[in-house]
């Protein structure tokens, strides 16, 4: 599966469009990690545990998007976009979406 943020796949041509595919995850912060992050908040800087958490969520969202594209018979996803939103205290939604295509 080729993934790209461009409208085309470099070195290939699109032969069919299969429409929008998307994948998302909602994940909550771990209570223990949250306490550590709270302490880290006094000195500021990177909250490593949250960076990791959101990265894991993002890979899962991408995997779900890929599964959807594969089910539609695509072999590439173009024009991929990400978005993150804070939906409740301690929980974030990560979403990935793009256009499933067939390239050759």
């Amino acid at each position: 599966m080729e993934l790209t943020t461009l409208e085309t796949v470099p070195g290939k041509t699109i032969t069919r469009h299969l429409g929008l595919v998307q994948g998302s995850t909602v994940r909550s912060k771990h209570a223990g990690k949250d306490i550590l992050a709270g302490l880290k908040n006094i000195v500021g800087g990177e909250l490593k545990s949250y960076t990791d958490l959101l990265n894991e969520s993002r890979s899962e969202a991408v995997d779900r998007m890929i599964a959807q594209a594969r089910a539609a018979g695509a072999n590439a996803i173009v024009n991929i976009r990400f978005s993150t939103s804070n939906i409740a205290a301690g929980a974030a939604e990560v979403m990935a979406y793009g256009t499933a295509v067939v390239v050759s």
Partner: protein, 154 residues
């Protein structure tokens, strides 16, 4: 008595913020400058192409992200500054650091793939500290930078 304890706690947090927070920020700026220098050979752009003709064999999605939080001093400084308005310098540096770090991590991923360019780069920011209950917790935000890494035909 309660008031005095609260004041002492506030001053201690403020002092930690001033010293540890500033030291952190200075160190982060140094690391960023070094990493950016190191990655200068990878060209990132928000354009769709490289403007150098189509000699690339393959593209791959690359993503860099970081969650960064304010320190206690920044919070107090921003609170005071917003009384008079104007630039909140303490947040400006925080957001700048987060975004630059995300770009650096994206480029590092591109380098691991052997890419020379990252095109169609998009930057996103999401606040993680807004709370439906209405109280304002410490500010933290996620920054992501993502794009298509292009590997040149060898």
């Amino acid at each position: 008595m309660d008031g005095i304890i609260q004041l002492v706690v506030f001053l201690v947090l403020l002092a930690i913020g001033v010293f540890a927070g500033r030291a952190n920020e200075r160190r982060h700026y140094r690391e960023l400058a070094a990493a950016e220098d190191d990655l200068r050979d990878i060209v990132a752009s928000s354009e769709r192409g490289t403007g150098e003709g189509d000699t690339f064999s393959r593209g791959a999605l690359v993503v860099g992200s970081v969650v960064i939080a304010e320190d206690y001093f920044k919070r107090v400084a921003a609170g005071l500054k917003s009384l008079v308005g104007g630039n909140l310098r303490s947040y400006e540096t925080l957001l700048e650091r987060g975004r630059r770090e995300a770009i650096v991590r994206m480029k590092q991923q591109a380098r691991r793939l052997g890419a020379t360019h990252v095109v169609n780069v998009r930057l996103e920011t999401a606040s993680l500290s807004e709370d439906w209950s209405g109280r304002r917790p410490m500010f933290s935000a996620e920054f992501i930078a993502y794009g298509t890494a292009l590997v040149r035909i060898s």
